[in-house]
Amino acid sequence: MKTSQLLGALLGSVLALGTGIAPVQAATTDIKIVLPEEADLLEPCMATRSNIGRVIMENVSETLTELDVRGKEGVMPRLAEKWEQTGDGAWRFHLRQGVKFSDGKAFGAKDVKYSFDRIFSDKNICESRRYFGGMKFDVKVVDDNTIDFKVDPVQPILPLLLSLVTIVPEGTPLEFVREPIGTGPYKLTNWTPGQQIVLNARDDYWGKKPAVTKATYLFRSDPAVRAAMVQAGEADLAPSISQVEATNEKTDFSYLDSETVYLRIDGNIAPLNDVRVRKALNLAIDRQAFIGTLVPQDAVLATALVPPTTLGWNPDVKVFPFDPEQAKKLLEEAKAAGVPVDTPITVVARTANFPNVTEIMEAVQAQLQDVGFKIDLKFVEVAEHEVYYSKPFKDGRGPTIVAAMHDNSKGDPSFTMFFKYDSKGTQSGYADPKVDNLIARASAATGDERAKLWSQLFAYVHDDLVADALLFHMVGYSRVSERLDFKPSIATNGMLQLSEIGFKK
């Protein structure tokens, strides 16, 4: 049995060798996309994970709603045509008609309910479940094309949340699947693990037929290699390449990629529990010096953990200036007040967390040391990083700063603020009642009120609490073959809609 498998695999690879000798120039509407990391699953309910989402999100599996990341339209219809909030805070969604799954089955309200039930099943661990923590759902099928969501507590941003839930046909196994069935414009036609994933355009798609007829995904971990492949014509699109490689104006585009780099401070431990020390820390870092050197020219200095496109982003909050003298003064003040500023502070960073992480952190270390901090820089691999980053924190730990990168491309701060600043947040280093209060109020509010409350929170966290040292909103670079018409967006990190790709005439 096992030997026959092995033999089969051997034979298969011989064939692969034989057939792959000359890469036939396929139809001009076929494209190849080279990604840094292979999807280990193609599970629709895991599509919020970037390595999966880039392949299947809105290409194979669609959602009820969709966030407009290019314009200012906010949440747009996708599989739901429209929706409204009923009196008791529940939401009613009216579904699109005439939609078919790629296996031929018609799409209806029962599929939506099934998709929700599946997420909460104990037969799997769907990642999208995390967006609904602490919520009770009551999903009712009204008719084939109408569905009601009653959520406790009331969710003012439910339509936005539903942009994260992919719809699978009723009857999909509860366990993770490797061959997703969806309503999207493409279907999965080939997946050779370790080598490629192929999507083909569907003829029976409900919407506008996309220009790309076939997309082949390849995976290379080295950014230089990815860039070189587009240059050499081995691929048409490399959604993320490194800044160093992005040298060709015609093919290389930068985009704000919703990743924010920051130093998470554990404000429970002296001397970091002193706000003067935290302020000194912020003043000691010469953020501007990184721009255009270790951090791409187009990167933006951060004043909040969410990118400027997010609801409630506060333009009045200003970046801390680089002022080592002031920093030294603050440190002295703190020292005079009995704060143990000489305690060595451990800065933990993750290897290969973001481009140039080593150099950036070494530079930050040097800058901090220049104003008198004692810094131990420690690089760890992902599993260990997680131990430092998330609660429960270790007892008896020393003062610790964790360099991390946070991604929120979803337009609302709620996906960020609770986790990072609330006293119950898993990565929060603070227990500040005012922060907790603002987060609770903002999460429940709607419209302008919501934006205002978030704005207040951003200002408080940055200026008064000085919770962390925010660094940069990072920029990604894509290399796009000259025959393609495509501009990357803030969502490109987690989602790559093939329907947005056109061809230059």
Binding site: Q5, L17, D40, I125, A224
Partner: protein
Amino acid sequence: MLSFIRKRAFASLISLIGLLVMVFFLSRLTGDPASLFLPVEASAEMKAEFRALHGLDQPLLVQFGQYVGNVLTGDLGESLRKARPALDVVLEAFTWTLWLAVITMTLVTVCAIVVGSLAAFRTGGFFDRFSSMVSLIGASVPDFWLAIVAIVVFAIQLSWLPTSGTGSLSHWILPICVLFVRPFGIIVQVVRGSMISALSSAYVKTARAKGVKAGPIIFIHALRNAMLPVITVIGDQAASLLNGAVVIETIFGFPGVGKLMIDSILQRDFNVVLAAILVTAFAIFLMNLVIDLAYALLDPRIRY
């Protein structure tokens, strides 16, 4: 003969069991796969559910008992991340590695034997000094460094070969060439040393006294005698290739078992790690057996 194989198999089985036990328990000391599989924002409950789903919440000994039970029925468990049987994942990757190793080692063996033998025939001559230098440098170059330099030169600057990945025959050239260098350097030196002593041996003198030509003296009389230490080294080198040329596979995006192993270790995908170790250890056992048989084949004085 059979009893020899049986004895070897038994010894290997013991080693394999020891290996499994150590890897099983030690790897579980290296952190929680749940927090790696799930996003950082995931709640403690979700993590607990993940552990329950994969039986990671059980006491270690219970987990081990279950694992052993499953292994005995031929089930090596599922990959935590890929929702596929771990063995399938490993065999798929191992096939690639096997090809890479077989092709590389075949080339290495042939080239090293020819070069080493010729160098030994005229010790101290130009060819000898040249090949000694080349092989020494070959044995000294860090392969990952060579790999990235090769990519820059041949794939990026000259665009002769694809940068990495798989798909066509040309994709194999760079990885094989890079992997070739070090074993070649090492084996040439062993062949040379072994051939020098074989060529100065008494039976070669006899052959010369018989009037045998130089070619047959080198490649028939001396070589077969010189092969014993050489195949030991070939075996060692092949074993390290079978274990997966981790760095090279990573750099060239080659979906082999070495890359799978490092990925699985970093992701704490225990079942895949264990399956990968089992498969490679078994392959290495088979290879060592073949080498032992080759000893007997080459030298009639060795009988098992």
